[in-house]
């Protein structure tokens, strides 16, 4: 088994672990963390795809590598928005759960 395959399998586990956390954790901050775990897994899988496509003297296919960079920055922006929403919500209500709907 190559290192790329090893990390590909790790990415599959990361997605699973993150998905589990996203479903079972009631706390929004934990959900945000779990979303980032999934994101890490998805990006890693893309990196593995890039590594497998090494050719033309490059250590990896540059197209998926560039997509990962775009993806990481977008995921950060999403995390920041979610975290700030959560902080504002908890300031308004004095707690930070999503319970209590109409």
């Amino acid at each position: 088994m190559s290192a790329a395959t090893l990390y590909g399998l790790s990415a599959a586990v990361l997605v699973g672990v993150g998905l589990f956390g996203l479903i079972v954790h009631p706390h929004p901050l934990r959900k945000i963390l779990s979303f980032n775990l999934i994101g890490g897994g998805v990006f890693l899988l893309l990196g593995v795809v890039a590594r497998r496509g090494a050719a033309a003297g490059f250590g990896g296919d540059p197209v998926p590598q560039a997509l990962v960079i775009t993806g990481i920055v977008v995921a950060f922006a999403a995390t920041a928005l979610a975290v700030m929403l959560l902080l504002r919500l908890s300031q308004e209500t004095g707690r930070s759960t999503l319970a209590s709907d109409e």
Binding site: L22, P64, T70
Partner: protein, 503 residues
């Protein structure tokens, strides 16, 4: 298969660049300029959308543009077929109307800058840019960025008023949307890993029925369903759409939820037309049917007008997804494939107009009464006759009464269902119409009743705003006068009829 640039391809770039430039310049100048820039961009954006629709319809060909001259798979292309053109024109008609409606609500006092108006005008343009990018995208990762653009534009619209409930609704919407994006991207990664491209046209030639393609299709579909709020992933929608200010609700319910639906259509019909089999299409159909019945029943039980309209969106989204079992369940060459196809798309368009009109009418009622409790609506019909009439017209389209866009859409879905022997979908369509009739009449009966005590209006509602709402509702009705047959425009750029049918 290299993309060849078509005449008028630059229009596709303009459709995205115009509102993007508007967003940036509005942020730069802020204050009252944000509103002026947004309103100034609108006629140009509308002209571009119409020009694209005319070009597609005249040439009977897909408009294409290769960005930077870098051919896919290395580069990224934009592409407008008949479906894109129709959706773009819908957005380009709705957004200026919403802008006109929102002016009194989101005007800046001279000399200063308040938060909500600045954010509203910038995000209205941003939603438009994102929608156009979704409708024109021909590359799965480019579409991912467009979807994120849409999410970031839509979520803050939900909590413009800063109340705790709307903040919670916005956070839940964001979490659903982010999960959807992650699953969508995961599917795109699998496709790149298996086929080495993200370009839709190249993928459609390369995809074979194998595990990677199946997994990608499932992951991306589920992710997009979370964003489109199809049952059982609808939980975030009612509080978000009902909590937003009325013009924002109109954008969210009328347009934003159509974007992920549009992408599911792209995936199933354009990216992997030969992949999904009838069983998969039936699964989507079942979810659609539950959404129609469940959403309508919950709408009937609401005590607040905006929540009723929001639950009705959950139901109407269900109709959209009937396109999959109906346009996919037929054998090659049968005419009802195109019938179901037109019905589904027409449902998306007429619901956009009808639902926007209804949310905006509800907003005016809220401004006038200071509440939107359905039980307290008595007398509104006399006080705001135009608004209530517009609400009724929108409701007519939701019920599927003739003449209205909703009638044509649902009649075509019905025809397709009956002709193909899938009568159970026809039953669902009819039942959904009856239930919609129930909740629309519930509201109208209250609004037209005589009040027990004279109604005191808190605010004057200008004729202009009522007229805008009425015009949108009339658009939904006028769509009902199109002939009851497949639209040619919507079929431009479709792969041949054989490819439209699933295995």
């Amino acid at each position: 298969m290299p993309y060849s640039a078509t005449a008028g391809g630059f229009l596709l770039v303009l459709a995205i660049v115009l509102p993007v430039a508007g967003v940036l310049i509005a942020l730069l100048f802020g204050r009252r300029y944000a509103e002026r820039i947004a309103l100034a961009v609108m006629p140009f954006g509308l002209a571009v959308a119409i020009a694209i629709a005319v070009a597609v319809s005249n040439t009977r060909q897909v408009l294409q543009y290769v960005i930077g001259g870098w051919q896919p798979p290395l580069g990224v292309a934009l592409r407008a077929d008949g479906l894109s053109a129709a959706m773009m024109v819908t957005a380009a008609l709705l957004i200026p109307a919403i802008g006109l409606y929102a002016r009194p609500q989101f005007s800046q006092p001279p000399g200063t800058e308040r938060r909500a108006p600045l954010v509203f005008w910038i995000l209205l343009l941003a939603v438009w840019a994102a929608l156009n990018a979704v409708f024109l995208g021909a590359d799965l990762f480019n579409l991912f960025v467009a979807l994120e653009l849409l999410t970031f534009a839509a979520v803050p619209l939900v909590c413009l008023d800063g109340r705790a409930e709307t903040l919670a609704a916005a956070l839940r919407y964001l979490l659903f949307a982010l999960l959807g994006s992650a699953l969508y991207l995961l599917g795109a990664v699998l496709l790149y890993g298996a086929y080495g491209t993200l370009d839709i046209a190249l993928l459609s030639a390369r995809v074979r029925p194998e595990p990677a393609a199946w997994a990608a299709l499932s992951l991306m579909t589920v992710g997009l369903l979370a964003k489109a709020a199809l049952y059982p992933l609808h939980l975030w929608l009612p509080p978000a759409h009902a909590g937003a200010p009325a013009p924002a609700s109109a954008v969210l319910s009328g347009l934003v939820v159509k974007a992920p639906f549009f992408l599911v259509v792209r995936l199933w019909f354009d990216v992997m037309p030969r992949l999904p089999d009838r069983a998969a299409a039936q699964v989507l159909g079942v979810l659609a049917a539950v959404a129609i019945l469940f959403g309508s029943l919950l709408a009937l039980r609401q005590v607040r007008l905006k929540l009723l309209i929001a639950y009705s969106t959950v139901a109407q989204i269900g109709y959209l997804f009937l396109i999959f079992p109906l346009a996919g369940g037929a054998r090659v060459g049968h005419p009802w494939i195109t019938s179901a196809w037109t019905g589904g798309v027409l449902q998306a368009i007429s619901h956009a107009f009808a639902k926007a009109a209804m949310f905006m009418a509800a907003g005016l009622i809220y401004e006038a009464l200071g509440h939107d409790r359905i039980a307290g609506l008595a007398g509104v019909g006399k006080a705001l006759p135009i608004t209530v009439f517009a609400f009724g017209l929108g409701g007519m389209s939701l019920m599927g009464l003739p003449p209205s866009g909703g009638f044509v859409a649902k009649a075509m879905l019905l025809t397709a269902a009956v002709a193909d022997g899938q009568w159970w979908w026809a039953v669902v369509v009819l039942a959904g119409g009856v239930l919609a009739g129930g909740y629309v009449f519930l509201v109208l009966a209250r609004a037209l009743a005589d009040p027990s005590e004279p109604l005191a209006l808190l605010a004057y509602i200008s004729r202009t705003r009522q007229a805008v709402v009425l015009v949108l509702a009339l658009f939904a009705v006028l769509l009902g006068f199109v002939p009851l047959r497949p639209w040619e425009l919507l079929l431009i750029g479709r792969p041949d009829a054989a490819a439209m049918a699933f295995r």
